[in-house]
C-alpha cells in the first residue's frame, strides 16, 4: 500500500485523481451508511472521534515516546468543559466555537500539570503515574457533586447543547440540494473536517524542528539533551499538545452525545486508545488512523454478525454474543502483535529499528 502511494506520488495527475476519488468517497460515505441505518453513521462518527484521540495520543506516545496510560482524562476534561458551558446545568449556553478553544486550553493545562512533576520519570514509571492521574480525574468527576454540585456526580450532565454554526443546528435534519442531511451526517462532515486539520497538523509537526526534536528525545534522551535540545520544554509541549487534541475531541463528543458521565472515561477507554496507537503503528499518522478505525469498527461489525452466524451454524445461541465478540477481539490483539510487533502499518523509522534488532532478550535497556 505504501509503495502504491509512493508510486502514485510520482505521477501528479494520477495523484490528483486518486485524491479526488478518496475525497468523493469520503463525501458520499455517510449517505451510503445512512442507507444501512443511521446507527452506522453514529458508529462512524465515534470512530472518527477515536481517530482524533489516537492522533493526539500519538503525539505523546508515538512522536515523543512518553507512554501515557491516562490519556482519556484530557478527553474527559474537554467533554466536561463543553458540558458545563453549554447546558442547563449552570444555565450557561456559550457557542461551540468559543468553548472548544477553552476546552483545548484547559486540557493542555492539565497536560502540563501532569507533565511537569513527572518529567524526571521514564518508561513504566511514567505510565503508572499517568494511569493514576487518569483515575484521579475520573474519581473527582464522580464525586464533585458535593458540597458544591459541579459535575453532578455519577448521574452526569444531560441536555447538552448541540453544535450550532450560523443558524444551522446540528441536531436537526435539514434538506439541502435535495438531500436530507440528518444530525449525525452533519456531525460526520464536521468531524471529517477537524480530523483533516489534525492530520495536517500532525504531518507538518512530524517533519518540523519540534517533531525531529521529539524523535531525538524518543530515541535517546541523554543524547538529545547533549545536542542542545531543551528536553523539558519539548516534553511539556508534547503533553500539552496531545492533551489539547484530546480536549477538542472531548468537546465534540459532548456535543454529539448531548450527555456526559464519568462512565465514559474509565481506564479501559485509555487502554483502548493506546491499543489503537500501538496496533496501528506508533508514530505513523496513517497507521494510527487505521488502528483507530479498525478497533472501532471490528467490534461493532462483530456485534452484527456473531449472532446470525451462530444461529445459522447451531440453530440457537450457544454463547452470549458479547463474550464471543470480546474473545475474538482479545485473540485478534494478541495475534496481530505477535505477527506484526511494530503494528499493522509501522512508521519508516520503526521499521528500520525492527530490522536492525536481533531477537535477543532485552537487557537493562529501558
Amino acid at each position: 500500500m505504501l509503495e502504491a502511494i509512493a508510486r502514485l506520488k510520482r505521477h501528479r495527475a494520477a495523484a490528483w485523481a486518486g485524491t479526488a476519488m478518496v475525497a468523493l468517497a469520503l463525501l458520499a460515505l455517510p449517505f451510503a451508511l445512512a442507507a444501512a441505518g443511521t446507527t452506522w453513521v453514529r458508529i462512524t462518527n465515534l470512530a472518527l472521534l477515536y481517530a482524533l484521540l489516537a492522533l493526539g495520543l500519538n503525539i505523546v506516545v508515538g512522536f515523543a515516546g512518553l507512554l501515557d496510560l491516562g490519556y482519556i482524562a484530557f478527553y474527559a476534561v474537554g467533554a466536561y468543559v463543553y458540558a458545563l458551558l453549554a447546558s442547563p446545568h449552570f444555565g450557561v449556553h456559550w457557542p461551540f466555537w468559543a468553548i472548544l478553544p477553552i476546552g483545548a486550553g484547559v486540557a493542555a493545562l492539565f497536560g502540563v500539570l501532569i507533565g511537569a512533576p513527572t518529567l524526571k520519570l521514564r518508561g513504566d514509571y511514567l505510565a503508572i503515574v499517568t494511569l493514576g492521574f487518569g483515575e484521579i480525574v475520573r474519581i473527582f468527576l464522580n464525586n464533585l457533586s458535593q458540597p458544591v454540585n459541579i459535575t453532578n456526580g455519577p448521574q452526569g450532565i444531560a441536555r447538552i447543547d448541540p453544535i450550532r454554526i450560523d443558524g444551522v443546528d446540528f441536531s436537526r435534519t435539514d434538506a439541502f440540494l435535495g438531500l436530507a442531511f440528518s444530525g449525525p451526517i452533519k456531525y460526520y462532515y464536521l468531524l471529517l473536517l477537524v480530523l483533516l486539520a489534525v492530520i495536517f497538523i500532525c504531518l507538518r509537526l512530524e517533519d518540523s524542528r519540534i517533531g525531529r526534536a521529539w524523535e531525538a528525545i524518543r530515541e535517546d534522551e541523554v543524547a538529545a539533551r547533549a545536542m542542545g535540545i531543551d528536553t523539558t520544554r519539548l516534553k511539556l509541549l508534547a503533553f500539552a499538545m496531545g492533551a489539547s487534541f484530546g480536549g477538542v475531541a472531548g468537546g465534540m463528543f459532548s456535543a454529539i452525545q448531548g450527555f456526559v458521565s464519568p462512565e465514559s472515561f474509565v481506564l479501559v477507554e485509555s487502554i483502548m486508545v493506546v491499543s489503537m496507537v500501538v496496533l496501528g503503528g506508533m508514530g505513523n499518522v496513517w497507521g494510527v488512523i487505521l488502528g483507530a478505525l479498525l478497533l472501532s469498527f471490528v467490534p461493532e461489525f462483530l456485534r452484527f454478525t456473531v449472532e446470525p452466524v451462530q444461529k445459522q451454524l447451531f440453530g440457537r445461541m450457544l454463547i452470549e454474543p458479547e463474550v464471543i465478540r470480546m474473545l475474538i477481539f482479545g485473540f485478534a490483539l494478541v495475534l496481530v502483535m505477535v505477527l506484526r510487533p511494530g503494528g499493522l502499518w509501522p512508521s519508516a523509522v520503526r521499521k528500520r529499528e525492527l530490522a536492525a534488532r536481533d531477537g535477543s532478550m532485552g537487557g537493562r535497556a529501558p
Binding site: V61, L67, P117, T118, K120, L121, R122, D124, Y125, A127, I128, V129, L131, G132, F133, E135, I136, I139, F140, N142, N143, Q146, P147, E221, V222, A223, L267, I271, V274, S275, V278, L279, M282, E320, E322, V323, M326, L327, F329, G330, F331, A332, L333, V334, V336, M337, V338, P341, G342, L354, R357, D358, G359, S360, M361, G362, G363, R364, A365, P366
Partner: protein, 307 residues
C-alpha cells in the same frame, strides 16, 4: 484511637493481599522488564475456581478448613497453568519487540480471561460461601477477625517462603542472575527461557492464593474483580521500586495502610467536604508523590541515565 487501630488492622490485611499480588508483577518485571497487565486476571481466576470448588464440596459435610484448603489447592495449579500459557503465547514471541507490543498482548489476554470467566461463572457478582465461621477478637478497643489473622499469617508465610526461594536456593540465584543480565546468565549455562516461565508460574501461584484470600475476605467474587486489584497491586510494586522483591512487600503494606487510614480520616480532616468515596484517590496520590520525590520507588535502585 480505636478507629486508628481498627483502620490499621484493616489496612494491614488489605496491604498484605496487595503485597502478595504485587510480588507477581515485580518478579516478572525484574527479569524481563515487562508489565504483566494480565496478572490481576489470574487473581480473579483463582477466586473463581475456589468459588466453584467450595460450592461443590460445602454440602459434603467436610470440615470447613479442609474445604478451603482443597479449594486453594485446586486454584493454584489452574492459575499456574494460565501463567505458563500466558507467557508462552503472549510474551515469549515478543522478546525483542518494541516495548509496547507486549502491553497490547497483555490487554488482549486480560480481555480473553475476563470474558471466559464471564462465560463460565456468569456476569453477576457471586456470593463467596462463608464456610469458615467468622470470629472476632478484641485488641485495644478494635476487633480483628480470624479471617484477617489468617490472611496476615498466610501472606507473611508466603512472602518469607518467596524470600527464601529467591535469596537462598539455586533457582533463586538463577532468577537473580537472569534479572541482572540475561545474556551473561545464558552464557553461564542458565536456561533463561525456563527461568522466565518459572517466574510467571510462581507469580501465578501467589496470585491464586491472593484470589482466595480476597474473595473470602469480602465474601464476593466477580469476573472484573481482578483489574482494580491488579492496578492497586501494580501501584504497590511501583511504590516499592518495581523489580525489587522486598520493595513490593513494603509497597503493598504501605498502600493498604494509607488507603485504610485515608478513608477513615478524610471526612474528619476536611470537615466532611471529602468523604471515604475518595478512598481510591489516596493510592494514586501517594504513588505520584513518592515517585516525584524518589523516581525509582522507595527501595528501587537509582538507575543512572543511560548514555
Amino acid at each position: 484511637m480505636d478507629i486508628f487501630i481498627q483502620q490499621l488492622i484493616n489496612g494491614l490485611t488489605l496491604g498484605a493481599v496487595y503485597a502478595v499480588v504485587a510480588l507477581g508483577y515485580t518478579m516478572v518485571y525484574g527479569i524481563i522488564q515487562l508489565i504483566n497487565f494480565a496478572h490481576g486476571e489470574v487473581v480473579m481466576v483463582g477466586a473463581m475456581v475456589a468459588y466453584s470448588v467450595v460450592g461443590a464440596l460445602a454440602p459434603a459435610g467436610l470440615p470447613p478448613l479442609v474445604v478451603v484448603l482443597v479449594a486453594t489447592g485446586c486454584a493454584i495449579p489452574v492459575c499456574m497453568l494460565i501463567g505458563y500459557a500466558m507467557e508462552r503465547v503472549a510474551y515469549r514471541p515478543l522478546r525483542g519487540a518494541p516495548r509496547l507490543a507486549p502491553l497490547i498482548t497483555a490487554i488482549g489476554i486480560s480481555i480473553i480471561l475476563q470474558h471466559l470467566a464471564m462465560m463460565i461463572w456468569s456476569r453477576n457478582p457471586l456470593a463467596f460461601p462463608q464456610i469458615i465461621k467468622v470470629r472476632s477478637y478484641a485488641i485495644g478497643g478494635a476487633t480483628i477477625t480470624n479471617v484477617q489473622i489468617a490472611i496476615l499469617a498466610i501472606s507473611v508465610l508466603m512472602m518469607a517462603g518467596l524470600a527464601v526461594l529467591v535469596y537462598r536456593t539455586r533457582l533463586g540465584t538463577a532468577m537473580r542472575a537472569t534479572a541482572h543480565n540475561p545474556q551473561v546468565a545464558g552464557l553461564m549455562g542458565i536456561d533463561t527461557d525456563r527461568i522466565v516461565a518459572v517466574t510467571f508460574v510462581i507469580g501465578a501461584a501467589l496470585a491464586a492464593v491472593a484470589g482466595v484470600m480476597v474473595a473470602s475476605y469480602y465474601g464476593i467474587a466477580h469476573y472484573t474483580m481482578g483489574s482494580q486489584l491488579g492496578l492497586k497491586a501494580f501501584c504497590a510494586a511501583v511504590l516499592g521500586g518495581i523489580g525489587n522483591v522486598p520493595g513490593a512487600m513494603l509497597g503493598g503494606v504501605l498502600l493498604g495502610v494509607v488507603e485504610a487510614l485515608g478513608a477513615g480520616y478524610i471526612g474528619d480532616l476536611t470537615g466532611n467536604v471529602f468523604g471515604s468515596n475518595y478512598q481510591d484517590v489516596f493510592a494514586f496520590i501517594v504513588l505520584i508523590g513518592v515517585l516525584v520525590l524518589r523516581p525509582s520507588g522507595l527501595l528501587g535502585e537509582r538507575v543512572a541515565d543511560r548514555a
